[in-house]
């Protein structure tokens, strides 16, 4: 079997031009529909037999406007990032990170975490693959923290729903937490707290046939990504928006501002503690964050909550228990939680 047969040159099929054309038409249609969403949702809410100005009306209009808005934005962002991600792969990221010094390695790992496609069912092979190939433990953790926390879905939705300032600060501070937490774990030299079998694995080397992707292939990758992510997260989004709608319509602003406002030092750690066991991906949690902010929650508290939900979750810990001893998991949670709490305090102090 020669490499030629595997990587047959980019086929300039007549289908490519049609696909590119269809993509452009699709994008135009997307914008056309998107601009009509607000008037349409107002009209739809007005058709419902609900008293205007009631709690139910506020919740319903949040839900009816936000659901299509979030789904459409998510589709666009995931499509674009699916195309970008076709330039990255976990295998390539690993060979780039192997042998990197700590420090530089932590920064590179956290940044690559944003772009490298990664799903939580791959967490264990990824972890073992990284460590056995000589990626330092702390650098591996930087990647593992950044990847679910800062990704295209999180950034795209924050940008669209809450604004670019919040999205940018989330990006910067998310990277900071991943880098510092990973570096700290590396400094603690806890390699002997890995499960023994992980240390025994000798990673084989592969040279996967290099893929030559055409623009049409990358568009295809974008479409695949949309189909895949939608299949997995749409339920979470609907639940998230429903929770957001409930908060928006029913939770009194004074109560929320009282709990999550800036006046209590304990609100940040409390938000993080509540957020750790909850599992939701970024798409599900952002509508909740949007509603919390609208009700006067402090920005640092809301972002700390979101980071805790996305970066740490009970199911992920159960999966990671296969490779990490319970002690190492406790250190991992402790270090990341401390970092997130610090970010929350810093934020609330900076933006009051």
């Amino acid at each position: 079997m020669t490499t030629e047969t595997l990587t047959a040159p980019p086929h300039a099929a007549p289908g490519s031009a049609r696909l590119i054309g269809a993509t452009i038409v699709g994008l135009i249609a997307w914008f056309a529909v998107y601009w009509q969403l607000e008037p349409f949702s107002k009209w739809a809410v007005a058709q419902l037999p609900i008293a205007p100005g009631s709690h139910l009306e506020e919740a319903a209009s949040f839900f009816i406007f936000d659901t299509p808005k979030v789904l459409m934005l998510l589709a666009l962002v995931v499509f674009a990032m699916g195309m970008v991600r076709s330039f990255f792969s976990p295998e390539r990221t690993r060979s780039f990170l192997a042998g990197k010094r700590e420090g530089v390695g932590n920064v590179a790992a956290a940044s690559l975490g944003i772009f490298t496609p990664f799903c939580s069912c791959s967490a264990v092979p990824l972890f073992v693959g990284f460590v056995s190939a000589g990626v330092p433990l702390g650098v591996t953790f930087s990647f593992l923290i950044a990847s679910p926390m800062i990704n295209e879905v999180a950034l795209g939705l924050l940008l669209a729903l809450v604004g670019w300032k919040v999205a940018l600060t989330y990006l910067v501070f998310g990277l900071l937490v991943s880098i510092v937490a990973g570096w700290t774990i590396g400094r603690l030299h806890l390699e002997h707290w890995l499960e023994q079998w992980v240390l025994d694995v000798r990673s084989g080397s592969t040279d996967l046939p290099r893929e030559h992707l055409t623009i049409a292939d990358r568009i295809q990758a974008g479409i695949e990504a949309v189909r895949d992510i939608f299949g997995r997260v749409w339920v979470w989004i609907i639940v998230g928006i429903a929770a957001g709608a409930f908060i928006h319509g029913y939770v009194p602003a004074e109560m929320l501002a009282g709990i999550m406002g800036e006046n209590h030092w304990w609100s940040v750690p409390a938000a993080v503690l509540v957020g750790i066991p909850i599992y939701s991906n970024a798409a599900g949690i952002i509508p909740v964050v949007e509603a919390l902010l609208g009700k006067g929650a402090a920005l640092g508290t809301a972002l700390a909550f979101m980071m805790a939900v996305t970066a740490l979750s009970a199911p992920e810990m159960i999966i990671l228990r296969k490779v990490l001893t319970a002690r190492l998991i406790a250190v991992f949670i402790g270090v990341v939680a401390a970092g997130i709490i610090a970010v929350g305090f810093l934020f609330n102090a900076l933006f009051t």
Partner: protein, 78 residues
Amino acid sequence: MKNIKILGPGCKRCVATADMVQSQADRLGVPVTIEKVTDYAAIAGYGIVSTPGVVIDDKVVHAGGLPKSEDVAKWLAA
């Protein structure tokens, strides 16, 4: 007879990949044995970091996500 290994902890996509390889092999009339490798240490031994992975006659041809069916046909025909 081609020996095919599907590397993956048994997630939905790993099963889908195995089914796809089997149906492509049936379609092309290529005799294959398909083996699922679920042991993490063994998976890492092949040098891949993302699953599902596809190994044909001890050569890794794919890692991460569902392979395209045209690619599967190409691997089987090679």
